[in-house]
């Protein structure tokens, strides 16, 4: 299932400046994520999980060190290049779904496709495919307000996969959902990883969600404190 390294972090530091203070968030982090891997990031609040996710997704840049994706150093890309790179390669799944409330499910999923050169017909096909994969056929014309939380997250996942990116980043994707619905969303993520070979990096506080990953990284105070890969250890640790 797992192939060659697709994401590499080498000696990454991340600091934020707050007035005259420098707040270190990540320190000397080395990490390799293989192609098609399902990685979970766990740790207490403020441990740097989301910051690490932002670096991997190209939303933020490292203070020191390198973030390489398929050998490409994201730190060397201009703002326009990194924006384009995200559009082509990354799908985002957020805890609170972050759908555009005035758009229908179809239009929300179509949003990232508007950035491509696809024809209207082809965009329509892609949207329908994405909605079929997440099990929301027939809900195209519903607005987010007309959908349940689980359905909204499915639309968000459809939006994330509409352009067929190779990397999905998910920040607490089940954080706002009940256990049964969370299970369905995790099933979907597993399906995307298994059937469609998507590399997934997921931040979670939920041990049950972490158990779905191939590998769990534990962060504390900006440092990698544990890296668990076998299923038994993941279950025990989480």
């Amino acid at each position: 299932m797992e192939g060659s390294p697709s994401i590499e972090l080498r000696g990454v530091d991340k600091e934020y400046r707050r007035a005259e203070f420098v707040v270190p968030v990540l320190s000397d982090l080395d990490l390799t994520v293989a192609e098609g891997e399902f990685l979970a990031l766990m740790g207490p609040s403020g441990s740097g999980k989301s910051t690490l996710l932002n670096l991997v997704a190209g939303l933020d840049t490292a203070t020191r060190g390198e973030v390489l994706v398929h050998g490409r150093n994201l730190g060397n890309l201009s703002e326009a290049e990194i924006t384009r790179w995200r559009a082509d390669n990354v799908g985002f799944i957020f805890q609170t779904y972050n759908l555009i409330p005035v758009l229908t499910a179809f239009e929300n999923v179509e949003l990232p496709l508007l950035l491509t050169k696809l024809s209207r017909k082809k965009r329509r096909e892609n949207v329908k495919t994405a909605l079929r994969i997440v099990g929301l056929e027939g809900r195209e014309n519903h607005t987010p307000r007309q959908l349940s939380g689980g359905q909204e997250q499915r639309v968000a996942i459809a939006r994330a996969i509409a352009t067929d990116p190779y990397l999905l980043v998910a920040d607490e994707p089940t954080g706002d959902l009940d256990r049964a619905t969370a299970g369905e969303i995790l099933d979907l993520l597993e399906l995307l990883n298994r059937e469609f070979q998507k590399t997934i990096v997921m931040v979670t506080h939920d041990p049950l969600a972490a158990r779905r990953a191939h590998r769990v990284l534990y962060l504390d105070k900006g440092r990698l404190v544990d890296d668990v890969t076998d299923e038994t250890s993941i279950s025990a640790a989480s």
């Binding site: 989301s50 996710l53 932002n54 997704a57 939303l59 933020d60 703002e79 326009a80 924006t83 384009r84 995200r86 559009a87 082509d88 985002f92 957020f94 805890q95 609170t96 972050n98 555009i100 409330p101 005035v102 758009l103 239009e107 949003l111 990232p112 508007l114 950035l115 209207r120 939006r159 920040d171």
Partner: protein, 399 residues
């Protein structure tokens, strides 16, 4: 075009706020159109009169000065003149009306050869020429006062010490941008009435006033043979009377129209300043609405940028939305005002102050342009802020 749905849905996100922004823009522009059109229309009508090859002679000291009616004949005999008519303002009251409509004493035989854009049925025109008490009135005046051919039209003298007992001989029609609310009657009828009053009196103020006003043509409208002759003719007429007791000022009908505009002094500039103030206040209203709208969408903008919308695209989306909302207000206000004035005779409600009123196309398009500018300017700051906002900060609530 593929972003239009997104822009449209966002513009309709808060219908009350968007509706109020559109309403404030349209109401302001509607009022602005009324003010600006007043001047633009005068200028347009004056310039449109060029094709009629008419010049107007008046006393060099203005309308209060005397212009002997004998000069009508003298000018008519000049080379290059087709016809000339006195055009004497009467200003009498019809029944108990306070505001008089336009009434002029003219030469019935030639007036419609000079103002040839007006048409009168031949039988009515013949009756007008034959009947000394006859009058021809404009179509709109006839409609306003419910007057028909054969109706009595008594006018009570206000500035003149004589009353006129006119009869409607005919109804003229013409283009909508000409005065269709005039009453044209025989100059001789007024002049004879004045002479009779002057002779019958015993030297009192009425007698003196009647004597002073009789024989005065007021102004003389002259039809020239060609446009090329107009300037020369103006010069020749004024040269002819330069050294007389009543020197003249002759100008083209266009210049004559502009003279009325100049009489309003600084009012035009005042109106323009009011217009500018309206635009600035509109900017604040639309800018505030757009800023509020964008503040509510901080995380949505962050999501858009996260999934690959670049700065330029975010800028375009926000600006287009602002221009769309303000432009819609402008279209309703400016174009709505234009079409309303085209289809409804709003001059009727001016109490006789305006013979006609319409919004010229260039003024309506100026209004639309102003609204688009307001949209662009009001959306610029929120758009730049959104385009430059941090994705991380915007997603912080959720990521």
């Amino acid at each position: 075009m593929k972003y239009f749905t997104y822009i449209l849905r966002n513009a309709r996100r808060n219908p009350v706020r968007t509706g109020l922004t559109i309403a404030s823009t349209s109401i302001c522009l509607f009022l602005m159109m009324i003010l600006l059109s007043f001047f633009a229309m005068s200028a347009e009508v004056a310039s449109a009169s060029r094709i009629f090859n008419r010049i107007v002679t008046m006393n060099a000291n203005g309308f209060a000065g005397m212009l002997p009616v004998a000069r009508v004949r003298q000018i008519a005999a000049m080379d290059g003149v087709v016809a000339a008519t006195p055009f004497q303002w009467y200003g009498g009251k019809y029944h108990d009306e306070v505001m008089p409509f336009a009434q002029f004493g003219v030469d019935a035989d030639v007036v419609f050869d000079i103002i040839d854009e007006f048409t009168v049925p031949p039988d009515q025109l013949a009756d007008f020429k034959a009947n000394r008490k006859g009058a021809v009135i404009g179509r709109k005046l006839a409609k306003d006062r419910n007057l028909k051919v054969g109706d009595s039209l008594p006018l009570k003298g206000d500035i003149y010490p004589v009353d006129l007992d006119l009869v409607v001989s005919g109804i003229y029609d013409g283009p909508n941008n000409r005065d269709l609310r005039m009453c044209l009657f025989h100059f001789e009828y007024l002049d004879e009435a004045l002479k009779q009053t002057a002779m019958a009196g015993s030297g009192g103020s009425l007698t003196t006033e009647a004597a002073r006003r009789s024989g005065n043509a007021g102004s003389i409208f002259v039809k020239c043979r060609s446009a090329e002759m107009m300037t020369d003719l103006c010069r020749r007429i004024d040269d002819e009377y330069r050294s007389t007791e009543f020197p003249t000022r002759t100008q083209t009908e266009e210049a004559f129209g502009q003279m009325f505009e100049e009489m309003m002094g600084d009012l035009k500039n005042t109106v323009y300043w009011i217009g500018a103030a309206v635009v600035v206040s509109l900017l604040f209203v639309a800018g505030n609405a757009m800023a509020m709208s964008m503040r509510e969408r901080t995380s949505e903008v962050a999501v858009l940028k996260a999934i690959g919308f670049n700065k330029g695209l975010v800028l375009f989306l926000v600006l287009t939305e602002a221009v769309l909302v303000a432009g819609l207000g402008g279209a309703i206000g400016a174009l709505g005002c234009k079409f309303l004035c085209d289809f409804v005779d709003v001059a009727r409600f001016s109490g006789g102050f305006l013979p006609f009123f319409y919004v010229p196309w260039n003024t309506a398009l100026l209004g639309l342009g102003v609204s688009l500018f307001v949209g662009f300017a009001s959306g610029l700051v929120p758009a730049v802020l959104a385009a430059n906002s941090s994705v991380i900060d915007g997603l912080r609530k959720v990521v």
